[in-house]
């Protein structure tokens, strides 16, 4: 029987596909070093900063069409990790760096208040710092202790790697732990959604993300506003940081310049953050 060589060639092509892919994979691996592709800036980390950074990126890319800026979430600790490992050019952190993270370069790009939020129907208006701590320690099981109805307190917290949680831990809890029975969610937006839907819930989110579906409690009678934060009357403030292995240059540097510029800072001031005053070098 005549052997049809074109048939066999077709069949061989099918079988050679795995071999070709393997070869391509090897070439690919050897060709790439580390990190993102050319022309793309990866910024990753805090979910508190993410929506604002996305806004910065959107406006930045309107003027600089060539550079794509990719904004990822993951949480502050993830962002710091990513900056260190090179998975991201810039990491976003909504808490101050820990001593072991001090090897990274940090730039303050905004400041943000930390709001303790409850459902709009909640009768409470103000709490003291000790009361907030007690609630999150788990020692307040009913709202009646604080002057509210006899309903159970549903405590919502962020996950351990969250900068918001880290800041909350440092500013409010001190040495006490957030109790283990608290419900854990992995982004500000989710905490806000849950508190907005549960009259008995309490949580903490970025002040810049508070909207009319939740209410921010006053602390010792002081409401969280830009003025009270600037004056120090409202104590819960944390920096929004961009971190990197080295001082950002080129693409990262250009983006950073935009973020710190008047236009960039005006953008986030409109959205509810507190701008930083840039010192001209």
């Amino acid at each position: 029987m005549r052997f049809d060589s074109t048939e066999a060639a077709g069949g061989l092509q099918l079988a050679a596909l795995p071999a070709l892919l393997a070869a391509a994979a090897v070439l690919l691996l050897s060709a790439c070093s580390r990190g993102a592709s050319s022309g793309e800036l990866t910024v990753a980390g805090s979910t508190s900063i993410q929506p604002f950074c996305d806004r910065w990126a959107e406006v930045y890319m309107e003027d600089h069409a060539g550079c794509a800026v990719n904004v990822q979430g993951g949480g502050s600790s993830a962002g710091i990790q990513a900056a260190r490992s090179g998975a991201a050019h810039i990491g976003m952190s909504s808490r101050p760096l820990k001593p072991e993270e001090e090897d990274l370069v940090e730039i303050v790009v905004a400041r943000d208040g930390l709001a303790i939020i409850v459902h709009p129907e909640n009768v409470l208006e103000s709490l003291s710092l000790q009361e907030v701590r007690a609630v999150f320690e788990g020692s307040v099981r009913s709202w009646s202790v604080l002057g509210g109805p006899a309903k159970p307190v549903h405590v919502i917290t962020r996950e351990e790697g969250s900068g918001t949680r880290g800041a909350f831990q440092e500013l409010v809890m001190g040495d006490s732990r957030i109790f283990r029975g608290a419900i854990v969610q992995d982004s500000n937006g989710t905490v806000r959604e849950i508190v907005a839907g549960d009259p008995n819930a309490v949580g903490y989110i970025s002040l810049g993300l508070v909207d009319d579906r939740v209410r921010a409690l006053k602390l010792d009678g002081v409401e969280a506003t830009e003025e009270s934060i600037e004056s120090g009357a409202y104590p819960l403030v944390r920096p929004f940081l961009f971190v990197a292995r080295e001082a950002p240059r080129d693409r990262a540097g250009n983006f950073l310049d935009f973020v710190l510029s008047e236009e960039g800072q005006a953008l986030i001031k409109k959205e509810g953050l507190i701008p930083v005053r840039r010192r001209t070098p």
Partner: protein
């Protein structure tokens, strides 16, 4: 104790089973309708072709559609040749022995491993260690590894169910092994193989856990294999949980559900043809 009259017992049981079946079907349909009723009104050409604005609060979902397609395509590009090739080798070129049983058991186990573990693996290996970063490459390879066991198993079963007589007739007519495989066995097993591939497609489209940690969640239109990209299921997850935009969340979910239903319907049709051919 007086035993219940069997016919009465049967009537009661029948009613109970009927009620439970009704409840089951109702619940499952409710879920689909819940999404479609709220999501279909949101769908429009612009929703499908525009870029998202404001973290997804407005605009469309075009980059996520591209991302989903890119990841699925990449996964198939890697997993199908490897998987089908392996299945062909195992069924046609080796005998049933301890090794093939171990491979089959291994493939079965891996087919059942939670997808988050693939996500962890992919994150550590592709995103970090190999330095691909959050990218379509990382996500696609991770998905490929995830569906590879399924493709091996379904292809193997499809190949095994081709009657031996087909092979015997072919070789008795003088064909080589490879000719027999490509001209007789593979075409017959093709519907079964394609079913497995399409099921993997459905799984890839709906996958969230493994994807979010390897392909990232960037909203920009991906420009290369190394771009990060959000898939539709990740986009839905983020929109819905954070309350960014409920209408857009439902719209994204509607597209997802329709895509997966379409994929499954195709699978069902193909399987039917396959079964009819051989029963």
């Amino acid at each position: 104790m007086r035993r219940l009259d069997p016919r009465l017992e049967q009537r009661l049981v029948k009613v109970l089973l009927w009620a439970m079946t009704l409840a089951t079907v109702f619940v499952l349909l409710y879920i689909v309708l819940f999404i479609l009723l709220r999501g279909l009104p949101v769908l429009s050409v612009s929703f499908l072709t525009e870029n998202p604005h404001d973290m997804g609060k407005s605009g469309g979902i075009f980059p996520t559609i591209v991302g989903t397609l890119a990841l699925t395509a990449m996964a198939l590009l890697v997993a199908v040749p490897l998987g089908v090739g392996t299945a062909v080798y195992l069924t046609e070129y080796t005998w049933e022995n301890r090794l093939t049983r171990v491979i089959r058991f291994g493939a079965d186990c891996l087919a059942g491993i939670p997808s988050i573990i693939f996500g962890l693996f992919g994150f550590i290996l592709f995103v970090l260690k190999l330095g691909f970063g959050w990218s379509i490459l990382s996500g696609g390879l991770t998905l490929a590894f995830m569906v590879l066991p399924t493709i091996i198993r379904t292809s193997e079963e499809a190949l095994r169910s081709v009657p031996r007589s087909y092979r015997e007739v072919s070789t008795s007519l003088g064909s080589t092994k490879w000719q027999m495989v490509t001209r007789v066995v593979l075409p017959s097993a093709l519907p079964g193989i394609v079913t497995g591939v399409i099921l993997s497609v459905g799984r890839s489209i709906g996958e969230t856990a493994a994807v979010i940690f390897t392909a990232g969640s960037s909203l920009r239109l991906p420009t290369s294999l190394f771009s990060s990209s959000r898939t539709m299921s990740v986009h839905f997850y983020i929109l819905a949980r954070e309350g960014i935009s409920m209408p857009n969340a439902y719209g994204t979910a509607a597209v997802l559900v329709i895509a997966i239903l379409a994929v499954n319907i195709i699978t069902y049709r193909l399987m039917h043809r396959f079964i009819r051919k051989y029963s």
